[in-house]
Amino acid sequence: MTAEGRAASVQIERVTHRYGAMAALSDIDLTIGQGEFVTFLGPSGCGKTTLLRIIAGFLRPSEGRVLLQGADVTAVPPHKRPVNTVFQRPSLFPHLDVGENVAFSLRLAKTPEPEIKRRVADALALVRLPGYERRASHELSGGQMQRVALARVLVARPRVLLLDEPLSALDLAIRLEMEEELRRVHREVGATFLYVTHDQREALALSDRVAVFNRGRIEQIDRPERVYRRPATPFVARFVGDANVVPVDVTRAGGGETSIAIGSERILRRFPQSPEPGPAWLVLRPEALLLSEAAPRAPGIPGIVRDFAYRGSGYAYRIAVAGLGEMLKAEVPAVESGPFAIGAPVDLAWDISACLFLRRREG
């Protein structure tokens, strides 16, 4: 049972996987409910694809168990699991036309011919390629091939569908279109979708929950809004959405106020989130920063504009703050008065309830 009371569809228990001495996955514990859309998000080499392949059955984990609908399938080979995978490359069988490709799993199960015809037509209609049965695979575009690959796995009515970066080989425009398709198909089919990607925008747009992977561990798994607004670790903060993750020192001053040392600057405020004293990370989203002209009694901290880029919707600035090693990123909507010039002194302020403090270990 998951937290929301759904039946458990996929359970990962204490899964560790090693390649030689290196651990690709360390002690992963995960429960995914029936019908959920969960994304494994992370950079290359973080273990997300390894976990997916373990769930699919192409890898045996060094330690731990995999359960599907409550049954232990750790030792079960891929073709016997009620799971199907959509890969990065569609890999449509070149000697079969579209219809036969989609019908592949049904023919293996010796489904009667009329039912095959019906289900293939339904699957192709579901991915919006009706009537494509007799087309040859090499006549299709990249997006169409991937849709046929999707129909090919959906026709088997799996309860769990694994998707391994299925859109990364497609052009951006097709990719956005396919994302909508995937969300729609997920709603219509009701299966559990496990999606792997390194594209955090995609993860936020598609998922019920996002699991952020780093070096073989899950750093956070939560709804997209919470992962974005309340990242649990500096890594998640940096990886999901662009963030400034600034090393600061927190000291309690008197009267409920807290003093934050940022580089060589200091600010003194009553922070509603009452950060713990000591070393911390200050997480600031670039769009939360407010820039104004430097002035003696400006509310924020002083900085100098080092670079900016025009983004259509606004400007992306890089601001240097005294004593800070990295420059801060700020995103500001375009205004008539035009951008701040390079080298201009500015004042950096932000809504203090919109920032986040995370514990930092020294060293």
Binding site: P77, T85, F87, R89, L92, H95, L96, F104, R107
Partner: protein, 291 residues
């Protein structure tokens, strides 16, 4: 073509010297050979008038029919055994070999160039009554006396032919496996196919064309062989090629030798045509790969 370059003469001209040579040494001789099959036979010579006699003799001579049948049987057996053996080897080389791929390829292609005659000689020594095989069986206590049925029959001829053609077929099938990326096999397994089903529904259809053409290649070259049967065929392992060779070198009936050869050639072309047609009908003759 980059603007500014002028190709004054098409490069195909460079191939003309070789083409001349080939017309003279291949096309013309084959034409003459065809003509000979219609000539009247003398002793080691031919003369006009043109006649169908040679074909009548070729088709009428009972021994020719028996030898033809033998050639077909041995050819089919050799081709089948070679392809059936070569498929798993090519599969292993493609998907499982890892760092052993290069060394194994070297061994296999290297053995391809061990002389034809040397191979036949090798099998003659091994399969003989005093050969390694018999000695091994005696040493293991399986038999008391050497067995004679290993040599000078269809079995030894087929075995030697498989030994000769196996490396070539492995290479052709290995090349055929190349575009079949592991992703396709994984997709098939993901969709529920076990190992046998993956072979039947994905690997074999894709490999049908290279497998069929190599089968044909081995069949044709085996059925037309005259050296192997002469050296290790005994009585039951004789083949039509020997008869042709005998007609030319011993008997002196060149038109009949030519007639038999032309008939064999026609049969081979027919086999080739039928196979291509079969592949085309199942749309397996040319696989278009996109991924």
């Amino acid at each position: 073509m980059t603007p500014g370059t002028s190709r004054r003469r098409d490069p195909v001209l460079l191939s003309f010297p070789a083409a001349m040579g080939f017309l003279l040494l291949l096309a013309v001789p084959l034409a003459v050979f065809l003509a000979y099959s219609f000539m009247t036979a003398g002793l080691f010579t031919v003369s006009p008038p043109f006649t169908f006699d040679a074909y009548a003799r070729a088709l009428g001579y009972g021994l020719n029919g028996i030898l033809a049948l033998n050639s077909i049987v041995i050819g089919l057996l050799a081709a089948a055994a070679t392809v059936v053996l070569a498929l798993p080897v090519a599969y292993w080389l493609r998907y499982c070999a890892g760092r052993w791929q290069m060394p194994c390829l070297f061994i296999i292609t290297g053995s391809m160039f061990a002389s034809y005659l040397v191979r036949i000689y090798a099998w003659r020594t091994i399969l003989g009554t005093r050969g390694v095989f018999n000695q091994g069986l005696e040493a293991l206590g399986v038999i008391d006396e050497p067995v004679g049925f290993l040599l000078y029959n269809r079995f030894s001829v087929t075995l030697a032919l498989v030994h000769i053609f196996l490396p070539y077929v492995v290479l052709v099938l290995f090349a055929g496996f190349r575009p079949l990326a592991p992703a396709f096999l994984e997709s098939a397994q993901d969709l529920g196919a076990n190992a046998w089903q993956r072979w039947r529904r994905v690997i074999l259809p894709v490999m049908a064309a290279p497998a069929a053409t190599s089968f044909l290649f081995v069949f044709i070259l085996s059925a037309a062989d005259y050296v192997t049967p002469q050296l290790i065929g005994g009585t039951s392992g004789q083949m039509l090629g020997v008869q042709v060779q005998a007609n030319f070198k011993a008997v002196g009936d060149w038109p009949q030798g030519a007639a038999i050869s032309i008939l064999m050639l026609l049969a081979f072309v027919a086999c080739y045509g039928v196979t291509l047609l079969g592949l085309r009908l199942r749309r397996l003759d040319r696989i278009r790969w996109v991924n």
